[in-house]
């Protein structure tokens, strides 16, 4: 391998890791991980975006630190080490949200703290960051994080439109559907609607052939 090719393949691997998280290993629709926040906070697009930002921040931070420490972490106590690293970033995140974004902090409630036990983050630490270089771990975090955000946005898009009849992003109403907005299907904002939307979306993606059947 000549010197010119090396950075090229490196950057190609970097983009490959990012793209992987979006479709092939999409955390929600393919791996079916991190379901609690996916269902609980997708009442509105705003909440979904806030949650995604939080998860991306924690995932980036934990992947970065864990891949930096991967050579000096003893095999036996690796899980407690990962948990402490993740919990530290979640604490930072919840303090920042409480100070600067109080409405979002209120509406995310305990689900913000529950990012600690989100299987996606511990899963990436164990399966990827503990074995790969810092750069690739960052790429993996970005890919998986954006894949998670995308799924959250898709689910909340359907729930918000059906449940309120309009789409509101950061307090600005993008559009509203005439009949639906005066008489919305509140079912979709409530818990049963979350299960139904996610189940039907999973079935739809399988039917379209995006996902494999079991």
């Amino acid at each position: 391998m000549t010197q010119q090719e090396k950075p090229n393949t490196n950057s190609r691997r970097f983009t490959k890791e990012i793209l992987k998280g979006l479709v092939i290993a999409n955390p929600v629709f393919v791996l079916v991980l991190g379901l609690c926040p996916t269902l609980a906070v997708t009442i509105s697009i705003d909440n979904a975006l806030g949650m995604s930002a939080g998860v991306i921040f924690v995932l980036l931070g934990s992947n970065l630190i864990i891949s930096m420490l991967r050579r000096i972490t003893p095999q036996l106590v690796r899980i407690p080490v990962y948990i402490v690293v993740i919990a530290t970033f979640v604490t930072i995140l919840s303090l920042v949200f409480e100070a600067y974004l109080p409405p979002l902090y209120e509406s995310l409630g305990i689900y913000l703290a529950l990012i600690v036990v989100n299987c996606i983050i511990l899963g990436r630490a164990e399966a990827f960051a503990s074995k790969n270089t810092i750069l690739l771990s960052i790429a993996d975090a970005i890919g998986i994080g954006i894949g998670f955000a995308l799924s959250l946005i898709i689910v909340s898009f359907f729930r918000e439109i059906l449940g309120t009849g309009k789409l509101t992003v950061f307090g600005k109403t993008l559009f509203s559907i005439p009949v639906l907005s005066s008489d919305p299907l509140a079912f979709f904002i409530m818990p049963p609607g979350a299960f139904l939307v996610l189940g039907l979306l999973l079935a739809l993606f399988r039917w379209l052939g995006v996902l494999k059947n079991e």
């Binding site: 609690c36 299987c119 049963p192 299960f195 039907l200």
Partner: protein
């Protein structure tokens, strides 16, 4: 400041009205992962309830006697998750040493409980409602029983569902989500109970 909700209100609320799984979406991974067979569902439910009770006692002691007096409540996430992780390890060790039959039936589920959001969830709910130690214990047992109840109902339905002729793309998880949706809908009927 203490919460003066009565123990029965907390218990009934946790078991059916604010069910962990169906209204708070906590513990969904085991809910969909372990609900394929009835016997596994019962074992998982018992293990979760037990760990939840221990975790609730430990964390509420820590919350009331360490975090509150020294004004370091912001540390609760880190401390709670460490307490839960070590509790699970200790319980696993004790069961393995004392009752090998129980260990064989529960053993594989115990490590999974550390990352079960229902356990951390109940300790955070207790802290945010500023429950006393007794109230925390009742709410943990209620939450655990609610989790077990839904897991048993779900596994009964899924055992039947396996026999049915489900459309190809709905087979497996998607139809389990739709079932959970109908279950959640029926549990909403309890919402006016208290």
């Amino acid at each position: 400041m203490n919460n003066d909700a009565s123990l029965i209100t907390i218990f009934v609320g946790m078991v059916i009205i604010n069910n962990m799984v169906l209204t708070k979406f906590l513990g969904l991974c085991p809910f969909f992962g372990v609900s394929k067979k009835l016997s596994n569902a019962i074992s998982m439910g018992v293990a979760v309830t037990f760990v939840m009770l221990l975790a609730a006692i430990a964390t509420s002691v820590i919350y009331n006697f360490i975090l509150l007096p020294y004004d370091i409540e912001f540390m609760n996430i880190i401390i709670y998750i460490l307490v839960i992780a070590s509790l699970v390890q200790i319980v696993e060790l004790i069961i393995r040493r004392t009752n090998i039959a129980l260990y064989n039936s529960l053993g594989i589920y115990l490590p999974l409980i550390t990352t079960n959001c229902a356990v951390l969830g109940i300790t955070l709910i207790n802290a945010s409602n500023s429950y006393s130690i007794v109230q925390s214990m009742v709410s943990a047992v209620g939450g655990g029983l609610g989790f077990t109840l839904v897991l048993i109902i779900m596994s009964g339905i899924r055992e039947r569902l396996e026999l049915g002729d489900t459309p190809k793309s709905l087979r497996g998880l998607p139809v389990a989500f739709v079932t959970a949706s109908l279950l959640a809908l029926s549990f909403m009927g309890f919402s006016g109970l208290l």
